[in-house]
Symmetry: C2
Subunit: 242 residues, 2 copies
DNA sequence: AGTTGTCAAGAACGGTGTTCTCGTTTGCGT
DNA sequence: ACGCAAACGAGAACACCGTTCTTGACAACT
């Protein structure tokens, strides 16, 4: 779908190769100085080009280059999360393992974010322009929340729709607010499960934004230990408890 | 402390007045076009100045102006949250009201964020430079988490340190990671309470960042209804339940 | 082999933050 | 009341930036 056919001509081949090279250099500059400092002229300089205008043959604008980096970032992050999910296969084990699996996925996402802080900021930080999210990015951006949804339904599958313990009942307007999402899911998906997944997703990235953007400095001494505990406690509070 | 003495000379008075005027114009431009588009030259133009260099008499750099806006943003947000907290005084009512108070504060923070989206992005979005958080901002930035901590200890005061229901025990490393924070609190403050407060704070701003930065578009139809329910359910999960 | 399209280069335009210099204005101390 | 020093706004200048357009060279397909 992304490649209509194999690159037959040498020109096409060189083109997609050079496009990847541009992105690689841009990603390196992004990692060093952040998105605000990424300049097409500097990218062209690092590539050995004498002129920045040459880059416009490959990306129609600077924002388009950033969008490509965002897309790659989503892909890279989702790959890491899915790899952790797969590595922690729970098979037929007891439900406590689902909580461990959740914590493991959380740590995988956190590790990726710590390894690529500027890329994380590009994805989950403030949108730079008037926010232009092309349809291409949606598919990659939704992989993580869908993975979390699958994880939560793992737990649910073990002992059925466990009754809501102390959680308040879901009012109609809240249930209807999920309509666009429920329309794309199996018709018997309980709204409570979707709610739990979305809340886990929300908390996970809220915690990472806080840590990466410095809102926990001077407050928390050992960020990893704190994160491990908050992930575990949140998972338990959302119904993944033993 | 911030004002050493009353502005005796007319020059001083004009100076602080003009400084406020600069911030007002900058805040207006920020609200219209976002932080990236805020330019000193445009601010000078709107102020009737013929030269942007005149602004350097009042702010040493563009980042310093942005920092001043960040500080004001923290103050404005904290004021709104504290006003909502005070308006929902629970007096000696039953614990269910504490949950309502929590939901009310959450809505106040959300309303502020929706009314000042670019200011919110400036505060809780990706830090622009290499992140320079002067000590002045810390005092304002911590007002909201402290308020949430007070709210959670309201609940705790009613029926004492309620036993941890299904929440996992707090391991030593997690408890020690809170040391910098516990050092500034009453010595009998339970670590579980601090943990709950921090998690509520984290979730609240995680949810707002998602909503404001567009990560919930095409997923949630009625953001306010969803937010109300998630706030209520999170409060219950964190121990504010009836 | 000739034509067509792709390519890098370079100049140019309007914009930015920042620095420096230059008269002017203002307030304070004498 | 006067003079000096500090603060002020204006303006030019520097080094960048994204983007557009034109020009000339090279490669590929017919």
């Amino acid at each position: 779908m992304s490649t209509p056919q194999k690159p037959r001509t040498a020109r096409e081949r060189a083109r997609i190769e050079f496009t990847a090279e541009i992105k690689a250099v841009a990603r390196r500059q992004l990692a060093e100085s952040g998105a605000a400092a990424l300049s097409l002229r500097a990218v062209a300089r690092d590539l050995g080009l004498a002129s920045a205008s040459a880059l416009y043959r490959y990306f129609p604008s600077r924002d388009a280059l950033l969008t490509a980096l965002i897309l790659d970032g989503y892909t890279s992050l989702s790959d890491a999360a899915e790899a952790a999910y797969a590595a922690l296969d729970v098979a037929e084990a007891e439900p406590a393992d689902v909580l461990e699996r959740w914590v493991g996925v959380c740590h995988a996402v956190r590790d990726w974010a710590l390894a690529h802080p500027h890329e994380y900021a590009l994805i989950y930080g403030s949108p730079v322009p008037g926010y232009a999210a092309p349809q291409d990015t949606v598919a990659q951006a939704t992989r993580l929340p869908y993975l979390i949804g699958a994880l939560f339904s793992d737990r649910l599958g073990k002992d059925g729709n466990r009754p809501s313990d102390t959680r308040p009942a879901m009012p109609d307007d809240a249930r209807q607010s999920l309509a666009p999402l429920l329309a794309g899911l199996p018709p018997d998906t309980p709204a409570d499960l979707v709610m739990s997944s979305l809340m886990g997703w929300t908390y996970l990235l809220g915690a990472l934004s806080f840590e990466l953007f410095g809102h926990r400095r001077e407050i928390i001494a050992d960020p990893r230990a704190f994160f491990d505990h908050e992930a575990r406690r949140l998972g338990a509070a959302l119904g993944l408890a033993t």
